[in-house]
Structures are given as structure tokens and as C-alpha cells.
């Protein structure tokens, strides 16, 4: 069993992270892998939406998320973060974009900074999964047509009405119980039971 590293504090990522990293096939080994990912991260920050192989995209996504969260946490006057941004962004004007555009954009968000979709595979190619990786709040049109207003669809109307009905009956029941509890005999018998119920619930 290992001890967690305490020298650094990091913010939690809002995406799912695998237990182990993926090795991207590369003759230069781990260094080449980082180089590959640097290119992808730079492309993502630059174009805001890219199409990549799934594995590479998923890895790059984690690095991009980390980079943005570091930038949000430390700001642009923190030297290690600046060095980090300098390392990961191959085009230096993107460093400005990271700190002055992306940080204000994502500062108050509580969802992940990027989105990833599975893309259709090309018909004649290696059997590689493709994915579309994009930053949230990008200027391009949505990949999926969202249904803006589904509140009026029939299933929602029905459930809405059912909810109203259910709540009404619940409140009525509570009111009834309160009326009952005013009688002294009822209080003694019911109070401990409800505690037990809560106990069981916590179990």
C-alpha cells in the first residue's frame, strides 16, 4: 500500500479517470507519448473541437482538464503553472488564450471543461475507434440537436400531473399525522419507531 503524495494539492477532475494510464504506441516510449499528447492538447485548446482516435483523445482530454484546472486554481502569476502551460501548449499565443479566455470561461462552472463523443468509424481503415473532443462553450453548432423544450411532451405532462397529485396526498398525510400526534398516546408509541427507521436507513 502506498501513501498519497501530500506535496501537491490538486482539484478533482469532473471526468472519469482510469486507474492506469494508456501507453500510446510510440518508439520513443513515455517521452514520445507525452509529445503526442502535447500536440493533441495544443490542438484542442486552439481549435476547441477536434477529431482523434479514441484512446489518444481520452488521454489528452485528461491532460487538458488538468491543465485548465491548474490554471484556474493558481492563476497566471504562479510560475510552476506558467511553466506547465508553456510545456503543454506548443504555440505560445495559446498560453494567453488559456489564462485570459478559458479561465474566465470555466471559472465558475461545476461540470467538466471538455466533452467527448464517440465518432463513426471510417469504413475502410484500421479498426480504431474515433472520437470527437471539444471544449465546452465552443462557438461551433452542437453535435447533437438538443430538444430545448420537452416539458410539454406528453410523458412529461403526465408525470408532472402525477407529481402534483402525489405531493398533495403526501402533504395531506403529513397533516393528518400531525393532527394525530397531538393526541398524547400516539406520541409515545410512534416516536421511538421513527428513530429506528432512520437508523435502519443509515445502515
Amino acid at each position: 500500500m502506498n501513501q498519497a503524495d501530500v506535496s501537491k494539492l490538486v482539484s478533482k477532475l469532473r471526468i472519469k479517470v482510469k486507474a492506469e494510464h494508456r501507453n500510446l504506441r510510440n518508439p520513443k516510449g513515455p517521452e514520445g507519448r507525452i509529445d503526442k499528447l502535447r500536440k493533441t492538447v495544443t490542438g484542442l485548446i486552439k481549435f476547441e473541437r477536434i477529431e482523434v482516435n479514441y484512446n489518444r483523445g481520452d488521454e489528452a482530454r485528461q491532460y487538458a482538464e488538468r491543465l485548465i484546472s491548474e490554471a484556474i486554481r493558481h492563476g497566471d502569476c504562479h510560475t510552476p503553472t506558467m511553466k506547465m502551460a508553456d510545456f503543454w501548449l506548443l504555440e505560445k499565443e495559446l498560453v494567453h488564450k488559456l489564462f485570459k479566455v478559458l479561465v474566465p470561461r470555466f471559472e465558475n462552472s461545476n461540470v467538466s471543461f471538455t466533452k467527448m463523443y464517440k465518432a463513426p468509424k471510417p469504413q475502410y481503415s484500421r479498426n480504431l475507434e474515433k472520437a470527437v473532443l471539444e471544449l465546452r462553450g465552443n462557438p461551433y453548432p452542437d453535435l447533437f440537436t438538443k430538444q430545448p423544450n420537452n416539458r410539454l411532451w406528453i410523458q412529461n405532462v403526465l408525470l408532472e400531473a402525477a407529481k402534483h397529485d402525489y405531493r398533495q396526498s403526501k402533504y395531506a398525510e403529513i397533516a393528518q399525522n400531525m393532527a394525530k400526534n397531538e393526541e398524547p398516546t400516539q406520541v409515545n408509541s410512534e416516536a421511538p419507531k421513527s428513530e429506528i427507521i432512520e437508523d435502519i436507513k443509515t445502515q
Binding site: 501513501q3 507525452i34 485528461q62 486554481r73 502569476c77 510545456f87 503543454w88
Partner: protein
């Protein structure tokens, strides 16, 4: 100027109207890290309360039970704040020893493990013989852990003391505790040790250690070349590697807020004990 450039690159529609004069005002607000929770500083004092970061072994309920058990043990025995590089005296109940207790003094060269598995290693040179003893931090046979000198060293692991000259790890077994004035930060000892000539137990030259003074004089050209070839400068930029080694801030604040109360109480109790000890200390000297 820069602002205009990045506008051209960016595509944030809602902030277009922002006048550039406001920019300097915003910058100081974002300067520096965000105000962090003070209870997060516990992580340096009690690193074993953080679980193993490997998600395969994580389970919130088990971690909770483990922390509760650790706190129960801490109620029984005062486990003080100490770091790698501090000098400790550990008294254990030992069924093999003559008086059924055993005391060992030494410098802490390693602290590892999380939860109830936490352990630390002490090193000393007794009768010109180097010795190392490993202890479980939460072992119920440990009677007393006393910090004789509270300090840090330049490195996280002091394994190189095994190859250093013996005087660097020699401490008298009847050493007196040095009491730091209350409120002072933990001092970092900038001592650099001298290594014995080769052969060594490990290739210290490859580990980027700060606490070794004379390593260069023993290296050959081949050593230096190999060191250069094996450097991994990209690793300190590997953001996910760091991430996988740490417990994220949000999870840590949950953990610390859960145990903070009891830890505070324990600290208060310890301070009371320390005050008593300062009163009693002169008496023993008189006697």
C-alpha cells in the same frame, strides 16, 4: 494589445463588450492560488489519514472505519507530529526483552503506508553497527513515541544515510528532547551528508538528492553519462501522473473535516501534557 490578440483567437461571445480598461483590475483578484482550506494542512502532519490513491482499493466505508479505528488508537497513545529527518525515541512492550520493554532511538528515514498500515523506520548507529528498526505506527504494543528533535531534512527519504559516514546517523541512546518554542514552524535542517566511497547500495547519483554533499567526486564519466541518459525531464510535467498519486482537494477536505474535531482535541491534550512536563523537568534535575 495582448487582449486584442486573444480576442481574435477566442470565441467567447458573451464577453465581447468588456472594456480593456477593466482587465488590470481583474488580474490581482486572480493572482496566487485560491484561498485554501486551513484544515488541508493536516495532510503534512497526518499523511496516513489519506487513503491509497489507487482506485482499485478505494472504498469509502472501509476508509471511514479505518479512520475511526486510528482515532481510537490515538486516544490511547499520544502519536506526536514528526517528519522524515526527526529524531524519535520509541518504547515498545517487547515479550522477548529482559524488562519486557525496549527502547530505541534513531532518525526517521522513511514514513510510508496509509491507514492502519502506516509505518516508519528509525536508523541509528550503536557500537559502530548500523541498525534500522521498522515500526507500525498503530501497533498497540508501542508504549510511547517521543520526539527528541523535531526537524525536516532536505529529502523525503533518507536511505542514503546507509551509505553515508556513520557519524551522520549516530545518536546517543540517552538523548534529551529538545523542545521547540510553541508556534515556531518546523525547522528544515540543511545538513548535507558525506557519502562513503563506492560500492553503494543504490545509484544515488540518479535520484536528484539534495542532501548529499560529495557525490560528484566518486562518479566516473560513465556514471555521469548514464545519469544524463536516464533523466526523465518530462515526468515533472506529467499532470496525470501527479494526479494519480494524490487525493484530490475536494476529497481531502471531506476527510479532514470528518477527523478534524478529534484531532484538535488530541492536540489540546498533548499541549497540556507538554506544559506539565516543563513543570516537572526542573524537579528531576534537582533530584
Amino acid at each position: 494589445m495582448i487582449f486584442l490578440e486573444f480576442r481574435a483567437l477566442s470565441t467567447l461571445p458573451e464577453r465581447v463588450e468588456e472594456p480593456p480598461q477593466e482587465e488590470p483590475k481583474e488580474v490581482p483578484q486572480r493572482r496566487g492560488p485560491k484561498s485554501t482550506n486551513p484544515i488541508l494542512e493536516h495532510r503534512h502532519i497526518y499523511p496516513e489519514f489519506l487513503p491509497d490513491p489507487n482506485p482499485k482499493w478505494r472504498n469509502s466505508l472501509r476508509e471511514k472505519m479505518e479512520r475511526a479505528d486510528m482515532l481510537k488508537r490515538r486516544q490511547q497513545i499520544d502519536i506526536p507530529e514528526f517528519y522524515v529527518g526527526s529524531i524519535l525515541a520509541v518504547t515498545i512492550a517487547d515479550p522477548h526483552a529482559q524488562g519486557k520493554t525496549n527502547k530505541f532511538v534513531g532518525i526517521c528515514i522513511e514514513r510510508k503506508g496509509c491507514g492502519l498500515r502506516a509505518e516508519f523506520t528509525l536508523r541509528n548507529v550503536v557500537d559502530h553497527q548500523g541498525l534500522e528498526v521498522r515500526y507500525d505506527l498503530y501497533d498497540p504494543t508501542i508504549d510511547k513515541i517521543q520526539v527528541l528533535r523535531l526537524e525536516k531534512r532536505l529529502d523525503d527519504k533518507l536511505f542514503y544515510l546507509r551509505d553515508a559516514l556513520p557519524e551522520y546517523s549516530t545518536f546517543p541512546l540517552d538523548m534529551d528532547p529538545e523542545i521547540l518554542p510553541e508556534g515556531t514552524p518546523v525547522p528544515v535542517n540543511p545538513l548535507k551528508v558525506k557519502l562513503k566511497p563506492k560500492p553503494w547500495l543504490e545509484r544515488w547519483e540518479r535520484q536528484e538528492l539534495k542532501g548529499i554533499a560529495n557525490i560528484e567526486q566518486y562518479l566516473t564519466t560513465t556514471n555521469r553519462l548514464n545519469r544524463k541518459l536516464r533523466q526523465t525531464p518530462w515526468e515533472k510535467f506529467d499532470l496525470m501522473k501527479q494526479y494519480r498519486k494524490t487525493i484530490p482537494m475536494e476529497e481531502q477536505s471531506d476527510i479532514w473535516s470528518e477527523v478534524n474535531n478529534q484531532l484538535q482535541q488530541l492536540q489540546m491534550a498533548r499541549k497540556k501534557m507538554a506544559r506539565k512536563r516543563t513543570f516537572t523537568a526542573p524537579k528531576t534535575q534537582l533530584g
